[in-house]
């Protein structure tokens, strides 16, 4: 008779399961570094945290593993779902990288033997020990999709998903899977055209996070995704933050510093921030006209990008030698360039087709159609007040103003980047290397031309 070498495994597994059932507030699981084996339960449950003593891990896992694979191999003899679930909890807590075990749980969920919300809780605890487990994240996605198709509201699930993923991101640097899960959750539970305010919230919230995790490529990537959404075709309903006048915050100072006032003191690396006096008269062309479109969406988008470039400048100078920051800057610059190019195209085509043909009968419906087809920027000018009925000639004029502004921004940006690079050349070895690479990239890939 072959005797079970470690009968306590079953008991330990059922102890673990009962903790899950008894404590709905359970937060974490981890292995305690206790190697002394006494006749004492190795399962510890303190302050909503579950711990398992080290000495039993090998035995419990081995027991669960072999029993589960025995069950799997004799599939026709259906195993008791409760036993199976208990074994799976133990096996997955100790080693969540086995896809087969997750699939077995999926089967149980599909047979209505496990509750979806309990499963979400369970995976969050698995992630507390192994925050980089992609299988756990993909299982979560599966469950969430199942819940949403079952009629559950996406928004109520979203917060939990973002929280779980961000906790995992905090526990493990460069946690690609966690940030990818955030992106997935936004795409599937709160698309930007329906929940613009959530994206705006994420935009402000992650700003703090990335300044504390400057080397986290994946965190930056998430921010890049949000930026793309905010400035993309789905972002047209982003609420205006009225406290802040977009024009004055970043664009004007930029234009001001690099184009017109050519004082030597303004050519330093920092973007001039809002400290500039807003009432100061503009000296560059179209200054007064640009002022008119200060609340337009294109200005708002530019403001998002420029504020991020400002943040990047700040972080690169403060923390020299971090590659992630330089890569993020490359993204920002190329994004800005394509953004400007795209909008220029639209404006030119818009002028050619619509404006020229129906000069003075350029109706607001045409303008709206153009918004949709142009898939970039909504020119719904709030400054012109509702924009109902016929569009006045000054609105047509807006196109020209915007084009001019975009041109100015592009010029100013080129100049600004050159200044920035030259200010970073002095520094530690890594910083120098990244800086010269960045410079090469600017001229060769982005083909940035410095205005004379």
């Amino acid at each position: 008779m072959q005797e079970d070498p470690f009968p306590a495994a079953e008991r330990i597994l059922s102890d673990i399961e009962s903790v899950f059932i008894k404590d709905p507030e359970l937060k974490e699981f981890d292995i305690l570094p206790i190697t002394l084996n006494q006749n004492k339960s190795p399962v510890h449950h303190v302050e909503n945290c579950l711990g398992l003593e080290l000495w039993c891990v090998r035995h419990v896992y081995s027991y669960a593993y072999h029993r589960l694979f025995d069950m799997r191999q004799q599939k026709n003899r259906r195993a008791d779902p409760e036993v199976q679930s208990r074994l799976l909890i133990g096996a997955l807590l100790l080693n969540p990288d086995v896809q087969t075990f997750w699939n077995m749980r999926r089967e149980l969920v599909q047979a209505c033997r496990l509750d979806c919300h309990t499963e979400l809780r369970f995976t969050s605890i698995v992630l507390s020990r192994k925050p980089k487990c992609s299988e756990a994240f993909s299982y979560r996605k599966w469950i969430v999709t199942k819940l949403v198709t079952g009629g559950e509201k996406g928004q109520s699930l979203l917060n939990r998903e973002l929280n779980v993923a961000k906790t995992a991101a905090n526990r493990y640097a460069n946690n690609y899977h966690a940030w990818q899960h955030c992106i997935w959750s936004l795409v599937h539970l709160a698309p930007c055209d329906m929940y613009p305010e959530i994206h705006l919230e994420e935009w402000t919230a992650t700003r703090i996070w990335v300044t504390m995790h400057i080397s986290d490529h994946s965190g930056w990537q998430y921010r890049q995704y949000i930026l793309q959404q905010l400035c993309g075709p789905l972002g047209s309903k982003i609420p205006h933050t009225h406290e802040e006048n977009y024009l004055y915050r970043y664009i004007q100072p930029l234009l001001h510093s690099s184009n017109v006032t050519q004082k030597p003191s303004d050519s330093d690396s920092q973007l001039p921030s809002a400290k500039g006096d807003p009432d100061q008269p503009f000296q560059y062309p179209f200054a007064e006209d640009i002022k008119k479109c200060s609340n337009m969406r294109i200005v708002q988008c530019l403001n998002f990008v420029l504020s991020e470039i400002d943040l990047s400048t700040d972080l690169i100078t403060r923390y020299p030698g971090h590659e992630a920051l330089w890569y993020h800057r490359r993204f920002l610059l190329s994004f800005l360039k394509s953004f400007i190019d795209q909008n220029n195209c639209i404006i030119i085509s818009g002028e050619n087709s619509d404006c020229r043909k129906h000069k003075n009968t350029f109706s607001s419906t045409a303008l709206n159609n153009y918004d949709l087809s142009a898939e970039c920027v909504s020119f719904q000018s709030r400054a012109s007040g509702g924009s109902s009925g016929e569009v006045t000639s000054s609105d047509i004029h807006v196109f020209e103003i915007i084009r001019e502004m975009l041109y100015l921004v592009a010029q100013a940006m080129s100049k600004h980047e050159k200044c920035f690079v030259s200010s970073c050349v002095a520094g530690d070895e890594n910083q120098q290397r990244f800086c010269s690479q960045y410079n090469t990239w600017l001229t060769q890939v982005l083909r940035l031309s410095v205005p004379t």
Partner: protein, 431 residues
């Protein structure tokens, strides 16, 4: 090729096949009647003749669909009902969660002779199923409605009206059941022998008293977790049901020693008593019980925290048939109590399972005292921190087949988890 195939089909065609020719239909049917559900369904696909034979209602008197629970939907039951009709005596749909009232009504109409019906865990079932059963299935003797949480008193009233032959009933976890349902049941089904109602929190003394008075044949009663009942309920059971041999009162926390004394006075046949979590019970109660109930075989005293060695001394003397004894979390038990148990008549003859987990005072000396228990197959020692590996090894030397359950890990390392998959088992590699 084609010719061969033709021949083959001819051999197996209905009239030509040897077995069909040689045996009369009655004998074939008899053979089929020994097959299980899966085999019958396979046979039904062989030929037309076999299809008729395999699906003949007489083969389908007892059906257990537990193995197919996920796939069993309403139409399956309706088809089975049509096939089997009056032949069906026993049907188990345990865990078939998709089954709902509609198909069960069809079933009740078509299979009027059903005697044993198991609907445990069919959560969609409501009172109308029971009303249909009451209307058509008067021969029903055993009914399991465990975990059918939509069931209410209406069901019990219906069963009381239409199923007077009911002997076994399980309504565990049907927590909508109240006094009035139980009372109606007691009046309508006096033949009740087995009554199981775990976790029916609304049942109180009056319901139990009514059952006890009207159903004198009660032998098995399970009131696990019916936490509202008191000593009065046990008194009625004890005084009116002398045949009682299984009683579970676990987690009925209001009960006191007087329950045990009453059981001792009136139920000499009691063989199984489960009183886990009845924390008011003391040595006095168990002394009375041990002196009177000599037939006791299984006792679950988990978390009867007040009992001491004195209880063990009385059990050792009074209960020679004791086979399974659980003393988990009885923290006052010491080696002395185990010594008495070890030298008692029950130890040498019958004791097979002893649970001593979480008894902190037990030492290796207890294991020494148990050496004479030749039939002991399993002993639980989890969390007994004074027990050592040496003590367990010594016990194993005397009782080589015993299963000792403790937290001690085996000295030999476990077989590695899955050869080729080893690279996935990172935790074991790291640790």
């Amino acid at each position: 090729m084609k010719q061969n195939y033709m021949q083959l089909t001819r051999v197996f065609s209905d009239d030509e096949a040897q077995i069909n020719k040689k045996l009369p239909k009655e004998l074939l049917l008899r053979i089929f009647s020994y097959l299980d559900v899966v085999s019958l369904c396979r046979c039904a696909q062989v030929s037309k003749a076999w299809n008729v034979l395999a699906l003949d209602g007489s083969n389908w008197q007892r059906i257990d669909l537990f193995d197919f629970q996920r796939d069993v939907e309403g139409p399956v039951i309706e088809n089975i009902s049509r096939r089997c009709g009056g032949f069906l005596r026993k049907l188990s749909l345990r865990g078939c969660q998709s089954i709902a009232d509609g198909s069960m009504k069809t079933f009740a109409q078509l299979c009027m002779n059903v005697e044993d019906l198991n609907l445990n865990g069919c959560k969609k079932i409501t009172d109308s199923t029971c009303q249909a059963l009451s209307r058509y299935c008067q021969k029903l003797q055993r009914l399991d409605l465990g975990s059918c949480s939509a069931i209410t008193d209406i069901s019990l009233k219906a069963l009381a009206d239409g199923c007077p032959n009911l002997t076994h009933l399980n309504i565990s976890w049907c927590d909508q059941i109240t006094e009035s349902g139980a009372e109606a049941l007691a009046l309508g089904c006096p033949k009740l022998r087995v009554f199981i109602c775990k976790g029916c929190l609304q049942l109180q003394d009056k319901a139990v008293a009514c059952l006890a008075k009207n159903c004198p044949n009660l032998q098995v009663v399970n009131l696990h977790g019916c936490s509202n009942i008191t000593d009065d309920a046990v008194q009625q059971l004890a005084e009116n049901c002398p045949k009682l041999h299984y009683l579970c009162l676990s987690n009925c926390t209001h009960l006191t020693d007087s329950s045990l004394v009453l059981l001792a006075q009136h139920t000499p046949l009691l063989a199984t008593l489960e009183v886990a979590g009845c924390s008011q019970f003391t040595d006095t109660g168990f002394q009375a019980l041990a002196k009177a109930c000599h037939m006791l075989e299984k006792m679950d005293l988990e978390e009867c925290v007040l009992i001491t060695d004195a209880t063990l001394i009385h059990l050792a003397m009074g209960c020679p048939r004791l086979d399974k004894l659980s003393l988990s979390h009885c923290e006052l038990i010491t080696d002395e109590g185990i010594r008495h148990l070890g030298t008692s008549p029950c130890a040498a003859e019958s004791l097979t399972v002893l649970e001593l987990d979480n008894c902190p005072l037990i030492t290796d000396a207890s294991l020494e005292h148990l050496i004479s228990c030749h039939n002991l197959q399993r002993i639980e020692l989890y969390d007994c921190q004074l027990i050592t590996r040496v003590g367990i090894r010594r016990l194993r030397n005397h009782l080589p087949n015993i299963k000792v359950h403790a937290y001690f890990a085996p000295v030999t390392p476990p077989p590695s988890a899955g050869g080729s998959r080893q690279r996935y088992c990172r935790c074991c590699a790291i640790l």
